[in-house]
Subunit: 248 residues, 2 copies
């Protein structure tokens, strides 16, 4: 039995992506800190399709040791798709940024993503039909002055994943590695990034996608052979080859 | 009395940069894991100029806690220039990479650099004549297939530092932030990256700079108002404005 792993599945793009994979009949391993939200999602999935196997996993990926623990725990499962979607933002200038929050963000956005990508690629790169999708950001291709360290963490994700896609291609590996690069998406992201209780996308953001729309783009990327799925300045979704130059 | 801080000063570009700042009459705080090498460097500096105050600091910046300890230890010193030069490479495919080494690399190249940059900017951004120089790599602008995770860590450094330079400019801060992006340089880098005892640049690298040449470029960047000093494909040194797009 094959599984799709989605980190950060308790809300936003991860939550909606889980529903989209469930609609395709995929068994799911759902990863997040909030087990109650994962249980809700599991119920919602079983309302769509009671046959699916859904495994909620309570993990805090800002603690890198837990990334290893998660992967070891899943050793007995056959994984088809791994989506590193979990991510944290920090909206402030470098001068004012909270370093404790920055460290958690770097561990989650960069370290755990690199660790989980490496472990998955090591075991599955020669298995037909496997995919690794890492969620970066449009800000992984253009630096946002109000969140420079966040942007830089997403440059890491973009360069790492685009490079990995080329490495796999050069090795004629069977796995595909892909980058999803959303722009503003209506999720819990801004609440966490700005440390506020509520954030009103309708009134404060000139343009944005809903999490459901982004999950739709995720599925377009999943179905396509291109490496990068990126939201452009006009909020159109583009499927592209690697954006950053590669030397070998 | 003002000081120039150089991390990774025990060899290579850091060592030669310390000598170059000493030749300009700058007092130095030298940071590295190998205290004996820093003591050698201190002696060499005192042969050039016995008047200079030189403070060797034994610190392992791949342990992020030590980045905070270093900064706190230096609270009593007036710092003019801070150079985050310490960095570690890893030459292998993502599939084969050693995750323990990757974690040390990410902590050093990304986390400690972000922490030390933030702490320095927080205290000194409005002090006339201050500079933060972060050492990235030409591979922070083009991904190298034989060291993708290393490249991606340098994309972080480039985007972070270029963004910070813009943040400081927009705030009319007095500090300048700059990125040095060397290509292949004859140092201990390849030995560490490839886990070998010796590496013969003359026989294995079609082109490279010596550490002394790169320290010369570092001083050109230091003397100039441009944000990026990058070695191009022809091994010419170029001073440029930000390379990555910035949105505000």
């Amino acid at each position: 039995m094959k599984y799709t792993v989605i980190t950060g599945a308790s809300s936003g793009i991860g939550y909606e992506t889980a529903l989209a994979f469930a609609a395709r009949g995929k068994n799911l391993i759902l990863v997040a800190r909030r087990l109650d939200k994962l249980e809700e999602l599991k119920n919602e999935i079983h309302n769509i399709n009671p046959e699916l196997d859904v495994l909620p996993c309570r993990v805090d990926l800002s603690v890198t040791e837990q990334a290893y623990n998660l992967y070891n725990k899943l050793k007995g499962y056959e994984i088809e798709t791994w989506i590193n979607n979990a991510g944290l933002g920090e909206s402030s200038s470098v001068t004012d940024q909270n370093l404790e929050k920055i460290e958690s963000m770097l561990r989650l956005n960069i370290e755990s993503l690199a660790i989980l990508s490496t472990l998955f690629v090591r075991d599955y790169s020669n298995v037909e039909g496997t995919q690794l999708i890492n969620v970066s950001s449009a800000l992984g291709y253009a630096t946002y002055i109000g969140g420079i360290t966040y942007s830089a963490s997403k440059y890491f994700v973009s360069a790492f994943t685009e490079g990995l896609a080329k490495e796999l291609e050069l090795k004629s590996a069977k796995m595909k590695a892909k980058v999803l690069a959303p722009a503003v998406t209506e999720t819990e992201f801004e609440k966490t990034a700005q440390d506020v209780d509520e954030f009103d996308y309708k009134n404060f953001m000139p343009k944005y996608h809903t999490a459901k729309q982004m999950a739709g783009f995720m599925m377009e990327l999943y179905d396509n052979d291109k490496v990068v799925g990126i939201v452009d300045e006009s909020y159109n979704f583009n499927l592209r080859d690697q954006i950053y130059p590669i030397i070998g």
